[in-house]
């Protein structure tokens, strides 16, 4: 996969779309910020594993340019409905496009990177 799609997205469009969601965490302003949502269910081992895995991956591959939010659907069932969550854990890559949904505990790092369009970098 290409490693440059983040660059190709115009900053203006990005802003307008994600103004509310983006958190300023980035140091590298030239690279697009990743917006990730991880939906888990309570404190099961699968949930814990998924959280651990995504945090590690983000730190390794997207340092300072990701926005990760972990949502416990037990707490917010209506969010599960809105986001069409069926399987958990589900990781949704909201940005950059295309939108991707990855299910499972994210132990298969290769697949995760592939899904996040970070495959080539590794």
């Amino acid at each position: 996969m290409k490693n440059s799609p983040k660059k190709s997205v115009p900053a203006g469009k990005r802003k307008s779309e994600l103004a509310g969601e983006l958190e300023q965490s980035g140091s590298n302003s030239r690279q697009a910020k990743y917006v990730l949502r991880l939906y888990v269910s309570g404190s099961t081992s699968k949930s814990a594993l998924a959280i651990e895995n995504i945090k590690r991956i983000c730190e390794q591959h997207l340092k300072h340019r990701y926005d990760l939010e972990v949502i416990d659907i037990y707490q917010q069932p209506s969010l599960a409905r809105e986001e069409q969550i069926v399987a958990v854990p589900t990781l949704i890559k909201r940005f950059p496009p295309p939108l991707r949904r990855l299910i499972g505990d994210l132990s298969n790092v290769k697949k995760v990177l592939f899904g996040l369009d970070l495959g080539m970098r590794q």
């Binding site: 409905r81 697949k111 899904g115």
Partner: protein, 594 residues
């Protein structure tokens, strides 16, 4: 045992909530017409039921109706999890059936969730479970306080999620969870192979109740069938039951659950033809009996039925006329030509027509429509004209089973019914043998062909439980109705038409001739008497004349004798001779003594 059909109310009165039909297994009424009867009270309460069927067999509707009826009739809110159709599509689709999903949702009686997943978005990165689905169901159940859940084509998950092994085990877990929560659940599944109930074999997790829906096309006519494949812990009907989807949802028709336990009223009703009543023991037909009027084309079957309807309306009874061959207008017009005006009854609301070609729908459509119309109109008289048209849409076997059900149903309702039946010429009695056994009274109409003309004749082939005439009667359609005529028997049986008329005339001639002959004889006798009397007068006159003469002669000769004797006495006295010899000679002796 506990859910014996006899103790159950008819299909139109739905039981309140879920009655405990069985002591061992509580059931949840579906509210779907007829289904509660064949399941003995509904679906297993608090357990999952699998509803399987091919594409377009009515699974989604089954599920939705189960929820809507539950929410509106039994106070049990429900959750609909749709894995295929979107909420707006669902709402639109069932609006035509009178189900207002939006309103039910607003009233918190129903919760609809559309589970939409697209495979292309997914990648599997490790272990997962379907907790998201569980949570969504649990949340929905909690929001409306649901007692019922429908999972519409749960198996869609297999196509959209990776790793079927996980999906399987999660579905198994879901069923256990639903059971544990005591939710009465309907799970629909697509059936694409005839030897399998579901595509992915999820029926093995549902051990309580499996219902199969089938939509088949045979000879270009579609029929829908429902069958209960299994129902653990409960007796149930095992047949295939026809069902129909119409503007009131699903109606399942129980085939034989009605049984043969209807009343047999002794009350009699007129057939509308006075002399036909006369043939039926003088009192007419039994109320609530079924009558078959069969005959070849143009023998007056519809007319007989119309007379019956007319008589019923005159009594103030309601009549329902199922016309499978003619339009109501045509029937009204035709009957008017023989002096039967049905229109006033239609206007008064006593008579309703239901006219449709049976080919319009399948046989069960006809049957269910018939049921519905009868249930809503509550007539005391029904005409089905003709039943034979039903054969066009189905096999003989199905028609018979349908008629059995219809007849049972009508009898249970105490409705007197006339079925007309068109028979092929030549096989009058044989072709009806299967239908006729269902009927109480069988009127056979036929055309008698004699002397270059056809005339209508009628006879009562059978009539259960009453004495009836065994005679073949001719009938004519006159300006003022149908009239049975007197019987004229000739050498070849009953005389009809002009043969009858000529016989009538002949008989009239004979009578006249006899009368004339008698008159002649009487006059001759009179004449003879007069002659005799005249002669008597003459003879008497002659006799008198003769008598007179004779008398005269007698008196003359007596006189003469006296004179002679006197003279002789004188002479004896004067002569005084031979007195002793005269003594021996009587008179001669006396005379001389004197």
């Amino acid at each position: 045992m506990a859910q014996k059909k006899a103790s159950q109310p008819s299909s139109k009165t739905l039981p309140k909530a879920s009655q405990p039909y069985s002591k061992t297994l509580p059931k949840a009424s579906t509210g779907i017409q007829g289904l509660d009867e064949i399941t003995g009270g509904g679906l297993p309460r608090g357990r999952p039921t699998l509803v399987s069927g091919g594409a377009g067999s009515g699974k989604t509707l089954f599920g939705l109706e189960f929820l809507v009826r539950g929410a509106t009739q039994f106070g049990e809110p429900g959750v609909f999890m749709s894995f295929e159709e979107s909420i707006s599509d669902l709402t639109k689709n069932v609006a035509s059936l009178g189900f207002d999903l939006d309103r039910l949702v607003a009233e918190k009686k129903l919760f609809v969730d559309h589970v939409s997943i697209t495979r292309s978005e997914f990648g599997e990165t490790g272990e997962y479970d379907l907790e998201g689905l569980f949570i969504r169901i649990a949340d929905a159940v909690q929001r409306v306080g649901a007692r019922r859940v429908v999972l519409d084509t749960l198996e869609a998950l297999f196509g959209e999620l990776p790793n079927p092994g996980i999906v399987r085990s999660e579905i198994r877990r879901l069923f256990n969870w639903l059971k544990q929560k005591e939710l009465t659940t309907v799970i629909t599944a697509e059936r694409d192979q005839p030897d399998k109930l579901t595509r992915h074999g999820i029926e093995e997790f549902v051990s309580d109740c499996v219902i199969l829906l089938d939509h088949r096309i045979r000879e270009e006519i579609s029929t829908r069938r429902l069958r209960i494949v299994k129902y653990r812990g409960s007796t149930h009907g095992t047949n295939e039951y026809p069902f129909l989807i119409d503007d009131q949802g699903i109606s399942v028709l129980p085939i034989s659950s009605l049984g043969l336990n209807h009343d047999a009223p002794a009350e009699r009703v007129s057939s509308g033809i006075a002399r036909l009543d006369g043939m039926l023991g003088g009192k007419g037909l039994y109320r609530g009996s079924s009558i078959l009027a069969s005959g070849t084309a143009g023998t007056g079957k519809t007319t007989i039925a119309a007379c019956f309807v007319d008589a019923a309306c005159r009594r103030g009874d309601r009549a329902l006329f199922f016309a499978f061959e003619e339009s109501p207008q045509q029937i009204v017009r035709n009957m008017r030509s023989i002096g039967i005006d049905l229109e006033p009854w239609v206007r008064k609301g006593l008579l309703q027509f239901h006219a449709a070609r049976p080919t319009y729908g399948g046989i069960e459509q006809v049957l269910l429509l018939t049921h519905k119309r009868i249930t809503s109109f509550q007539p005391s008289v029904v005409v089905v004209d003709p039943v034979t048209n039903l054969l066009m849409v189905s096999t003989q076997n199905e028609v018979r089973s349908m008629l059995t059900r219809l007849v049972d149903f009508l009898k249970t309702q105490g409705i007197t019914t006339i079925f007309t039946s068109l028979t092929a010429a030549g096989a009058l009695e044989a072709s009806e043998a299967d239908v006729s056994s269902l009927m109480d009274t069988w009127l056979l109409l036929k055309n008698i062909e004699v002397g270059g003309e056809r005339n209508r004749a009628l006879y009562v082939l059978k009539s259960r439980g009453m004495e009836h005439s065994n005679q073949i009667r001719e009938f004519v359609l006159t300006d003022d109705g149908l009239r049975l005529l007197d019987v004229y028997l000739g050498a070849e049986g009953v005389l009809t038409g002009s043969a009858r008329m000529s016989q009538e005339m002949r008989e009239k001639a004979v009578v006249t001739f006899r009368r004339q002959e008698l008159e002649t004889r009487r006059r001759e006798l009179e004449r003879k008497r007069r002659i005799f009397e005249a002669r008597m007068v003459m003879l008497r006159a002659e006799f008198e004349a003769e008598e007179e003469i004779i008398q005269q002669t007698i008196s003359e000769s007596e006189l003469l004798g006296q004179e002679v004797a006197q003279d002789r006495g004188q002479m004896v006295l004067s002569r005084q001779a031979d007195s002793s010899s005269y003594k021996k000679e009587g008179r001669a002796k006396v005379a001389p003594v004197r």
